[in-house]
């Protein structure tokens, strides 16, 4: 990790100030599985923050190692995203990184990612791998550096202030012609992990690839996600957070609400628009930041409600 030289500190402050001024985003209040959107910066944010018991932030798809249009500086945009999280009035208890830390699973890419993440003020970062993080070694290097080591398969769970969090792996052992995959072993573990929980426990489940059939022709889904959802259905509040598609998409199914996150690196086209997924190269210079961003999630104690704030870099 490199410290910013002093002569850059002024620029950095200016940049943060600029982002605070232009940090237009959306505040998502989730109540009983229904989202309510509010733009950031209209005063409502402060009120919503006041009754939150804790918050966490999600970042995704940093793709360290990517160096093409529309983003020649993915390290810079990741750094700006971390700064945006740091600039939140209420410090998030932790960060979630929902995968594709790197572009090609190279050790030096993991090094760079880890260095930038150290700039976060959050006490802890939880990671799940994307398919870009497991190239060539089935994720051995990823898990060695960022794994929680609860299970050989890499999946894990933890409890935080009354909310049960589950990190799933759906980018390994993929079958020809298929989508993302959880596999029988992980599903059996999930069943056991959830068995002792009361239906009132709020759940946050996160994985890289969408855990619902968002757009299978482009591989945007998980083959056995329905089996996982059948285990989650009895719970009153389930939020599923994914990355992979570099844009915000949402879906509500009963008490389960699905969200995909923006990338900190580059946007991808909307499902089915154009010949295939991949970076949107035609983003106008200066407009890229509008497509990149972070997600801030606040838990409101006693209401089984998670308030989700989308914030762009801008």
């Amino acid at each position: 990790m490199q410290d910013n030289p002093d002569n850059q500190a002024g620029d950095r402050r200016q940049f943060l100030k600029c982002m605070a001024w232009a940090g237009a985003g959306t505040l998502w209040l989730m109540k009983g599985g229904v989202l309510r959107a509010q733009p950031l910066g209209d005063g409502a944010t402060t009120a919503s923050t006041a009754d939150a018991s804790f918050s966490f932030a999600q970042i995704s798809d940093s793709h360290i190692g990517f160096h093409k249009e529309p983003n020649m500086d993915v390290v810079g945009t990741l750094r700006a995203s971390v700064a945006l999280v740091n600039a939140q009035a209420a410090r998030p208890d932790f960060l979630l990184h929902t995968g594709d830390l790197t572009h090609l699973s190279k050790p030096e890419e993991f090094d760079t990612l880890a260095g930038v993440m150290q700039e976060s003020h959050a006490r802890k970062v939880f990671y799940v791998p994307g398919e870009h993080d497991v190239i060539g070694d089935n994720g051995a290097e990823f898990f060695r550096r960022f794994g929680e080591r609860q299970h050989a398969g890499g999946w894990y769970s933890f409890d935080h202030r009354g909310v049960h969090f589950v990190g799933l792996i759906n980018v390994l052992n993929l079958k020809a012609g298929g989508l993302g995959s959880l596999g029988a072993e992980q599903l059996a573990w999930l069943k056991k992990d959830l068995a002792g929980l009361s239906a009132e426990t709020p759940l946050v489940v996160f994985a890289h690839m969408p855990l619902w059939p968002l757009y299978p022709p482009w591989g945007w889904g998980t083959d056995d996600s329905a089996e996982a959802m059948s285990l989650l259905r009895r719970f009153g509040s389930v939020s599923v957070l994914n990355g992979h598609i570099h844009q915000i998409q949402q879906q509500v199914e009963g008490n389960i609400t699905f969200y995909t996150a923006r990338s900190t690196a580059y946007p991808q086209p909307k499902p089915g628009v154009g010949p295939g997924p991949g970076p949107m190269k035609e983003v106008a210079p200066g407009a890229l930041h509008r497509y990149l961003g972070i997600r801030d999630v606040r838990h409101v104690q006693g209401r089984q409600v998670l308030a989700v704030t989308e914030e762009v870099l801008s």
Partner: protein
Amino acid sequence: MKAIAHGSARLRVARWRLGVLLVMGVVCGVIAASPAAMAARTSASKAMHTQQIEIRNFAFAPATLTVPAGTRVVWTNQDEEPHVITSAGSLFASSKGLDTSDSYAVTFSKPGTYAYYCSIHPMMVGTIIVQ
């Protein structure tokens, strides 16, 4: 038509057979591959023959490639996304992560049907038929 009409019956049959062969090539969906594949059959050094598969927009082109044994098949990634060539059933070695413009080559010496996919985008599938 006039030339054929004036030609010998034997020549007409030969031309007809050549036409059928060409049509079969088209029907089998190996339009792009067939001229090169025919060249390979007449080539003295089969082992040096190379066929290209392009990876573009998360698809292999051609998705099915028929080649004579001994052909070297070269995949080239034209996408901004990396891809990994992986044999279904591990019949040949997997590539490393192919970044934009990276290539991977495999020489197929034994006849058979080789299904493959991208291990990180498994909806991308292709087949190489080695004759």
